[in-house]
């Protein structure tokens, strides 16, 4: 239990993230975007498109992908990889769901150490 509390941080309840939608998590290390696909699965990515850093959290969620709001790259929510002809990868953030709460990898929220 203890190990978990250190590695993963409770960031909210499953219902806090709307279906086919997203929420942002602010952190010293930069924004993390949480997504919920139509089937209820939750994913976390750094909120930066591999193309020109567009905020992926603001895109349209379809299937298990999100379309970036700036230039329409389609990003896979699970891996962060750009789909189709585009190349690049948004950084995926580890996450787990327990008892209806979402836990995010603490390292993704901590400021980067030199």
């Amino acid at each position: 239990m203890n190990a978990r509390a250190q590695d993963f941080i409770d960031v909210g309840a499953l219902e806090d993230v709307p279906l086919r939608g997203s929420r942002i998590l602010r952190s010293p290390a930069g924004d993390v975007a949480l997504f919920k696909a139509a089937d209820g699965h939750v994913f976390a990515l750094r909120d930066e498109c591999p193309h020109k850093k567009g905020p992926l959290s603001q895109g349209i969620v379809h299937g298990r992908s999100v379309t970036c709001p700036l230039h329409n790259w389609v990003i896979d929510l699970a891996s962060g990889a750009a789909q189709g002809a585009d190349e690049g990868c948004a950084q995926a953030v580890a996450l787990k769901v327990e008892n209806g709460r979402i836990f995010v990898d603490a390292r993704a929220l901590a400021p980067a150490h030199g």
Partner: protein
């Protein structure tokens, strides 16, 4: 008969353990069962047929008195265990009596969740778990009246169907956008909703219960968060279950959500086993019987010292037990890019099947309408067999025969004869099919000549072609239509016509009835469908923000750095000291870096942080300003010049007319953006000749121009007509806009629509045909009723707050 086995809970799991145990070694234990329910053990999952009247209680008993006697089992029915003393190896019951054990089996099941709303404890509010609940519901049903079931999951729907069958007027209130969202995808959820409605059950989705109201001590109805009130004589709460683990926890057993057991079904005390819905195994709690039956085998083995069987978790499948509704789901049916979907839809037969494949293996299945192959698919999921050889025909099931799926003409074939195909000329399907047969027509031109269908705007051409294909079969070669996107074979026009003709009123419904190839569309088709539905059913359709591009979802324009710009309306380009002061104050208060005059005669505040948007809008609203829709596929600006008010050349009140048009038309959604302008004389200072709609005032009245553009393409407007009065001006412009709204393809600007449909066709409908113009105008006015609500004011007051407020991590202490 030396060892003492005490079983707590006389439910399905306990019953199954005892069956296996007695089979293995009937003489080993002296067995005592404590059951809180005052009756023998029965098949809980058959309570629904008892409720609906299809079975009696006697028919669902699994372990009767005779069985108890035959095995010398001591059942203490109606006696609850209050505590366990693990050191002394005794249990104490509600009467205070103590019983000793050598082995203890905890099989306490779970309890219904009661949502903590005011009134939850009123008489007339019941849950759905045991025979007492069923009897309470049947007693209520005998008096007739209304029932509201909270929860649209498996239990809620079975309760609702049963109550409706017993004659109550029944509604289901469900929080999520579609029914049984944990087992079904949106498409199947939509079909299920239709099936429940066909059984007389009203289904309200996205409905959040706020309170249960009462008269005296009895419930009288359910109040929803959105203010609706549903009168009710009976309220059934079926929102979920919670493992009954408190007894185990009090006894010091390891408990998370449920009593924690290992693969041997043992708790952290070697003398205590646990089984059923009260346990948590590898982090998982179950709510269906299949896993319990697998667990029961392992418990029985351990109780008889057989170390071989282990429990390693279960795959689940669900079937809904509502007579006449065939529905099955199993495994993981989420979308994903590492997965492939095989979807079969046959709208005419109400069929929907979806298989999810990953790495050539079947991992999930949703079946609706025909569940005959459920077991076959479930086996394939469980076995993890490679299905690459079967792939082509897998969806047709085990006995692949001649199921004709994937026929693009099926949707048209299923339309009734009376469905209107050509909206311009009012020609229905029957008339076209008849003409094809009677006159021996072989192509679209023939149909045009004989029926007028497709002869005007042409947007029904695709449908006419499909009717030709249906009538002529192989002989007909149709021109190819460009599909909306990869999710469908239909083009925009066909989708629009079918939405109207088949009265499709939601996105899942369109996707189902038009055989969409993906389960929830993509970023191309969803915004288009959302617009089409909003345009066609302004009073019924609920806008889907999740199918809108970010700018329209949050009512501001996203900038390249992720901040937003805010452009308030300045009617006709007019502003005032008060508005300018409010803009200045807002810019200062929220540190807005850039304030710019736009090319549309108003002011843009650029670089606003997303979190600040509602507060910025609140301040602008307070000064009387509303959203300028600078982000919208909708009306942007109406530019004006100073006109007769000041200008020495002005012929009419161009400023006043511009303001009037903008106040009348703001808020309307259109296929692409719409910009207008009114100039007071042909010098045209408001640049009316390059707008979607322009007006040039002249001495004798108003010239109405349209289909101009000055963006990616530069195009001068065409003259639509000339009118004498402002009122006529407004009527023509609204009718023109409405025609564009109804015929335009999503993202098709007015000038492109006009080029496709033809200036003469548009003029004929909007100018020459007065009744048609009036009808278009009336439809525009109707849709404005629901469109003219300032989206900023709504959000400043808290609507969609989750869009603007980031999540906050819970601090470490709280996470424990």
């Amino acid at each position: 008969m030396s060892e003492k086995l005490v079983v707590i809970g006389n439910g399905m799991a306990a019953g199954r353990v005892l069956d296996h145990l007695l089979e293995r070694d009937p003489a080993r234990y002296a067995i005592t069962i404590f059951g809180a329910e005052p009756r023998v053990n029965y098949n809980r999952i058959l309570l629904s047929p008892v409720l609906s009247g299809e079975k009696t209680f006697a028919e669902i008993v699994t372990h009767d008195e005779a069985w108890l006697r035959a095995h010398a089992i001591d059942l203490r029915a109606g006696v609850t265990i209050a505590s366990i003393d693990r050191a002394a190896r005794t249990v104490t019951d509600s009467t205070g009596a103590t019983t000793a054990y050598d082995k203890l089996l905890l099989a306490t099941g779970s309890s219904p969740v009661i949502i903590p709303v005011p009134g939850a404890d009123l008489a007339g509010v019941v849950t759905y778990r045991d025979l007492d609940d069923v009897e309470a519901m049947l007693a209520a049903a005998r008096k007739g009246g209304r029932a509201v079931v909270i929860g649209g999951g498996l239990l809620g729907l079975e309760a609702a169907a049963g109550l409706a069958q017993q004659g109550m007027a029944t509604s289901v209130v469900h929080l999520m956008p579609h029914l049984m969202e944990r087992q079904l995808d949106a498409a199947a959820g939509y079909l299920l909703k239709g099936a429940m409605e066909a059984r007389g059950v009203e289904v309200l989705t996205r409905a959040n219960t706020k309170a249960i109201r009462g008269e005296g001590a009895r419930a009288s109805g359910v109040e929803l968060e959105d203010g609706r009130f549903l009168p009710a004589d009976l309220v059934v709460m079926a929102v979920g279950i919670r493992p009954n683990a408190a007894l185990g926890k009090a006894a010091g057993l390891t408990v998370n959500r449920g009593v924690v057991v290992d693969d041997e079904m043992r708790t952290n005390d070697p003398h205590v086993f646990s089984v059923g819905e009260c346990v948590e195994h590898r982090g998982q709690c179950y709510g269906l019987v299949a896993p319990l039956f697998e667990m029961a085998k392992v418990v029985a083995a351990r109780l008889t010292d057989d170390p071989a069987p282990r429990y390693e978790g279960s795959f689940l499948s669900t079937k809904l037990k509502v007579t006449g509704v065939d529905l099955f789901s199993a495994g993981d049916f989420a979308d994903g890019d590492d997965r492939e979907d095989v979807v079969l839809r046959d709208a005419a037969r109400g069929l929907y099947k979806r298989l999810v494949l990953k790495d050539d293996r079947l991992i999930g299945a949703v079946l609706y309408g025909d569940t005959g192959d459920g077991a076959y698919f479930f086996d394939l999921i469980k076995s993890g067999a490679n299905v690459s050889d079967l792939r082509e025909t897998l969806i047709f099931g085990q006995g692949f025969t001649n199921a004709g799926g994937g026929d693009p003409n099926a949707a048209v074939a299923a339309m009734p004869e009376s469905a209107e195909i050509c909206g311009c000329n009012g020609v229905c399907k029957g008339a076209i099919v008849e003409a094809i047969a009677a006159k021996g027509l072989t192509d679209v031109n023939g149909v045009r000549a004989h029926t007028k269908a497709s002869a005007s705007c042409g947007s029904c051409t695709g449908l006419v072609e499909q009717l030709l294909a249906l009538s002529l079969g192989e002989d007909f070669q149709k021109a190819s239509v460009e599909p909306m996107c990869g999710c469908t074979d239909f083009g925009h026009d066909d989708v629009r016509r079918l939405i109207k003709a088949k009265e499709l009123k939601s996105i899942p419904q369109v996707m189902q009835d038009l055989h969409w190839k993906t389960s929830c569309g993509c970023a191309k088709c969803r915004p288009a469908l959302n617009y089409y539905l909003l345009c066609d059913w302004p009073q019924d359709y609920e806008d889907d923000g999740r199918s809108r591009f970010i700018n329209e979802r949050v009512h501001a324009n996203i900038q390249k750095d992720g901040t937003y710009s805010v452009v308030p309306r300045m009617w006709g380009g007019l502003t005032s000291v008060k508005e300018l002061r409010a803009i200045a104050d807002v810019a200062e208060k929220f540190n807005i870096p850039t304030v710019k005059v736009t090319g549309g005669q108003r002011i843009d505040l650029l670089g606003v942080k997303k979190e600040d948007l509602p507060a910025v809008w609140g301040d602008l609203n307070a000064a009387g300003m509303v959203s300028g829709h600078a982000y919208a596929k909708g009306l942007h600006t109406v530019k004006t010049c100073v006109g007769t008010d000041w200008c020495r050349f002005g012929t009419q009140d161009s400023t006043g007319l511009g303001v009037r048009i903008e106040k009348f038309m703001w808020g309307s959604w259109t296929p692409a953006k719409v910009k207008m302008a009114v100039s007071g004389c042909p010098r045209n200072c408001a640049e009316a000749t390059c707008k979607d709609v322009g007006v040039i005032c002249v001495d004798s009245g108003y010239e109405i121009l349209f289909a101009g553009a000055a963006g990616l393409h530069l195009r001068q407007t065409d003259l639509l007509c000339k009118v004498a009065t402002e009122d006529e001006c407004l009527e023509i412009i609204a009718a023109l806009t409405q025609l564009y709204r109804e015929q335009g393809r999503y993202l098709e600007r007015m000038y492109k629509w006009s080029a496709r449909v033809g200036l003469e066709t548009i003029r004929a409908q909007v100018v020459a045909d007065a009744p048609r113009r009036k009808a278009l105008f009336d439809r525009f006015v109707l849709s404005q009723k629901t469109a003219q609500i300032d989206p900023w004011a709504e959000r400043a007051q808290g609507k969609e707050a989750h869009e603007f407020v980031p999540l906050k991590p819970v601090l470490a202490e709280a996470a424990e």
